[in-house]
Subunit: 449 residues, 2 copies
């Protein structure tokens, strides 16, 4: 059941409507082409703020825009909800889970990434990651229910485990989650419980490397560490997780006295958040074997300088699914980091190159513009590392937090979303209240806790 548009114009199919897919579609929306965007959810997600949904600070609609609304006024763009299960480079078709076939003249695969448990996929149930709204809802549910169950629990050991939260991975997501969990425990929930003191909750941030926020300069990592500790987060560096179960985890870390070797200890804990590893969508390997392209260790597809696949100029891969290099004249190529600006720029560049191919022109190699890095730690503190024409600009603390706040709100889609997010954050700032605390199915069976 093949479904090409009948206009005779080139038909471009974009798989995935995250940052990469959305920017590609926007680049193509006024061109003389037909575009079909396929996503397995009905929304474009502003992932940098997903941890806010996971910590009940924002409701999902504030950070998610329905995809087909974005292209409402663009008849040349068709939006389909579906999961792509197969890509056929010879027939130039994708197949959806329900069997539908969709033909393309050009294909952009922007299917993104998911969690990697470093070969321990069995940890996924006990330690959800934070990549989708479903993830965020599950984490929020577990966090809120941990406090609820602790209020009813009479066994002190079980109560202690319920009030212990572990975040694995010291990148921006982990740092933001850990900082926010500490705030919830110390401030938001204060006064609401009678039998437990929520401020007594322990929040652990477990990082395998020597510092948090390893993509940022050392000085900012140090600032972030201090801010986290000030919030009461216990940061364990050089600590490897060796096992995750429903009621605890095993952590291997060096001895604190500096002695040789590592010690392993067990942490009873009912709520573990995985923010440690990212793996490319399984479509990556599928695409690679179908086209002969190579993948890296994380399953990302290695692309040419113009983001297309070797031997398949009409297939491009962008975003977290791509292992791409940035090409700057007179410099060595540098890997493009897996961050949202990278995905957006790649999406735009791949779309521009498709338009060049259609016009018979040569494509251009991709060049990533690194505008810097931001991470927030708590309600008063962030770290910002920007490149400017005058050199790097690094700052932290309250002003960094304000910068972080406005930068994130600016990039949200839609006036209403920006307004509601600012409203929620302003209320949260002054009152410590968090407005998205609803758990719909608190007593659903079979879910942990």
């Amino acid at each position: 059941m093949s479904t090409p548009p009948s206009s005779g114009r080139p038909h471009i199919v974009i798989v995935g409507c995250g940052f990469g897919g959305l920017e590609a579609a926007r680049k193509l929306q006024s061109a003389d082409v037909d575009v079909t965007v396929i996503d397995k959810t009905n929304h474009h997600l502003f992932q940098p703020l997903l941890y806010q949904v996971a910590t009940a600070g924002l409701a999902a609609p504030a950070i998610a825009a329905p995809v087909r609304v974005l292209f409402r006024g663009r008849p040349s763009i068709t939006t389909l909800l579906g999961e792509v299960t197969d890509i056929d480079p010879k027939a130039q078709q994708v197949r959806l889970a329900d069997g539908t076939l969709i033909s393309w003249d050009h294909l952009i695969v922007a299917a993104g990434a998911t969690h990697s448990y470093f070969g321990n996929d069995q940890w996924a149930q006990a330690a959800p990651g934070l990549k989708t709204l479903a993830d965020a809802f599950e984490i929020r549910r577990r966090v809120l229910l941990s406090f609820e169950q602790a209020e009813v629990e009479t066994d002190p050991a079980k109560r202690r485990a319920l009030l212990t939260f572990a975040v694995i991975g010291g990148g921006p997501t982990g740092v933001e989650m850990a900082g926010t969990l500490a705030e919830i425990a110390r401030h938001t929930l204060s006064g609401e419980f009678r039998r437990i003191d929520p401020a007594s909750a322990e929040v652990l941030l477990i990082e395998g490397g020597p510092r948090v926020l390893q993509a940022m300069p050392e000085s900012l990592s140090q600032r972030a560490l201090e801010q986290l500790q000030k919030l009461g987060v216990q940061v364990r560096l050089n600590a490897r997780v060796t096992s995750v179960e429903p009621h605890g985890l095993q952590v291997e870390s060096p001895f604190s006295d500096g002695g040789a070797g590592v010690g392993t200890h067990h942490i009873p804990c009912n709520c573990v958040v995985w923010a440690a590893g990212v793996a490319a969508s399984p479509l990556g390997r599928m695409l690679a074997s179908a086209t002969g392209a190579e993948t890296d260790r994380a399953g990302r597809v290695k692309v040419q300088p113009d983001l297309s696949l070797p031997g398949h100029p009409n297939i491009s891969v962008v975003g977290d699914l791509a292992a791409a290099m940035s090409h700057r004249p007179g410099h060595e190529p540098k890997p493009v980091p897996g961050v949202s600006p990278g995905a957006k720029q790649m999406g735009r560049a791949a779309a521009a190159n498709i338009l060049r191919r259609i016009a018979g022109q040569a494509t251009e190699p991709f060049r990533y513009r690194d505008y810097g890095n931001l991470a927030t730690i708590g309600r008063n503190s962030a770290v910002v590392d920007l490149g400017t024409p005058f050199g790097p600009l690094r700052f932290s603390g309250k002003s960094a937090w304000l910068f972080w706040l406005f930068a994130h709100v600016y990039f949200l889609i839609g006036f209403r979303n920006r307004f509601v997010v600012l409203l929620d954050w302003a209320s949260a700032y002054w009152s410590f209240q968090r407005y998205a605390r609803v758990v719909a199915d608190a007593t659903a069976k079979g879910k942990q806790p």
Copy 2:
């Protein structure tokens, strides 16, 4: 593991934090008593606006207030999340699902109602009701995904079934759902689809009796019917549903030519909403058999004039779980309708009677003040039936809609919620956009559609 407060003051346990339980707790919050509120969710739900969540017009936090936040400044009120599975009138204890026992001196059971499928519980999977947030999310998911699947579907018969929506039950919930679904199809989604025309969706409202909104005067029922038809809703009166399956329903209705007997026809339809029958929580029957009280056909517990159980003056039942009468001096007792003002007034009255008992005073019979009825049909139209000192006041149309809007917003909890709801409705009014359209798990297996 018995957990009474240790203060020596009377301990009142309230089961359920809907309208009845919340008002009872508020009545007791300043009294010299200890109160424990037990609910199986973590939120108090403003049920009259649940259909807005089900139709993606509002996000859940706008109509749900976290219970323990409501009593934050009240040390005498403890909130517990749990499901009461057993009530022991002799030992004066309730048991939670996890085995916890909680003792009480006085008990108010306000556990509410759930759906009744008139003995056909197997219809529940194909035709969810609308009583909880989980219900609303499921309906929203099915509605939005119906349009999404229709966009991909190539078989015309299957597409027709996907674009047919049936609402069963012509009370306020059914009328509001049907009217809103018609608006979504005709206005909200216009321009967003390329292969289907969402305005071609059929919305059916199936009512077993001779008119919609049977609790309201006939003139207003007639207005509502006209408004629904103007929105394109097909209203089938005197129509009984005889079977509900995942892909269609069987309806038995009189012949349109007025001939004797009834005809049965099959309606292919993938999205059915059940708004037809209400049954009391199973705690009703449990309580009745434990205390010797009687229940009515819907499982509601028959209470004394002061809302307590016969022979058990320290157990009261309020809200949708109670079959209560309103006692007005010089008049015949009248049944209290199962609406939110009824539940609120009963909650307050039961709490007041408990305080009288504690003080050694006589209790008072409950008197329901009927302030009238409202129902909205679409964005411009509602019907309002109010009692005033000068007689009944009935009106419909745009002014009724404004009245309905402000009345509902007024009764929401919290300044932020009122503000956000007004914002969402203002935006929706001007732009037809609905801001809570996110479906988190569109491709989850095992769920229909």
